[in-house]
């Protein structure tokens, strides 16, 4: 369903229509938060907070200024960055805190092992990037957002995003190759 039609329903007082917003955006939002290197529980917490803030500030959203996805991901990015900065300033956070809680899914142990190891290595490599570079990279894998939208969320130019993406991928490749040797 078109987001504009959903927002119209909400405006008319149909709260239940917001469930459609949640269903439409939960997948890309969790994808983004996962690529940001957040744990399962933190990702759940931030995803929920993102939707609640979106609800509370729905009157601030102006469709003429930005797509709904750009607006929603700006909220998610700010929450994720605050959380990561808060965690890093505490310095009590160990690398283990950022390990995914749900690396064990319902798959045969031997099949899942390699994939989980790869994921774990990726998460560790992601943590070597700065939070802003990680955020740009995490946003780039949501097909609905183009470079201009990512630049808007990140508050910089599209060319700067291009450079940051290239640099981040190169760094990840180097780290993952190093560990392959």
């Amino acid at each position: 369903m078109d987001i504009k039609a959903i927002l119209k329903r909400i405006e008319k007082g149909d709260r239940s229509a917001f469930a459609l917003v949640v269903r439409q955006f939960q997948q890309p939002l969790f994808g983004y938060l996962g690529r940001m290197g957040l744990t399962q529980s933190l990702a759940e917490e931030i995803a929920q907070e993102t939707f609640l803030r979106a609800w509370m500030r729905l009157d601030d959203y102006d469709p003429l200024r930005a797509e709904f996805s750009t607006w929603l991901f700006t909220i998610a990015r700010n929450l994720a960055l605050n959380e990561l900065e808060r965690a890093s300033s505490k310095r009590e956070v160990t690398q283990d805190e950022f390990l995914p809680d749900s690396v064990c899914e319902a798959k045969p142990p031997w099949d899942a092992l390699d994939q989980n190891q790869q994921r774990q290595r990726l998460i560790n490599a992601l943590h070597t990037l700065s939070v802003t570079d990680r955020s740009a990279l995490a946003l780039a894998y949501y097909q609905e957002l183009d470079l201009t939208a990512i630049a808007r969320i990140e508050g910089c130019s599209a060319s700067a995003i291009k450079v940051r993406l290239h640099r981040s991928k190169q760094r990840l490749r180097q780290l993952l190759e190093k560990r392959d040797e």
């Binding site: 744990t39 609800w55 102006d62 790869q118 990279l137």
Partner: protein
């Protein structure tokens, strides 16, 4: 390595809980309904009201000033 990295980044590193939507909606029902969004028409209306009020104030002050000028002339 290129494809590996792309597919890894494309994969889901965290999973969505089955009851996530319900959990969010439970909280949503506890919150007040958001205020209706302001359209350009609403803004234009506000602008017209403020403009008219300002013009009215100018008229009022010029009237008071006129009276004051007449009364102090004598």
């Amino acid at each position: 390595m290129n494809n590996d990295l792309e597919s890894l980044l494309d994969s889901s590193l965290v999973s969505i809980p089955d009851d996530f939507t319900e959990r969010v909606m439970r909280e949503i029902y506890r919150l007040p309904q958001p205020a209706p969004r302001q359209t350009w028409r609403d803004r234009l209306q506000w602008l017209a009201i403020i403009g008219t009020a300002a013009l009215g104030a100018v008229e009022l002050f010029s009237f008071i000033f006129g009276i004051w000028t007449v009364t102090t002339a004598y």
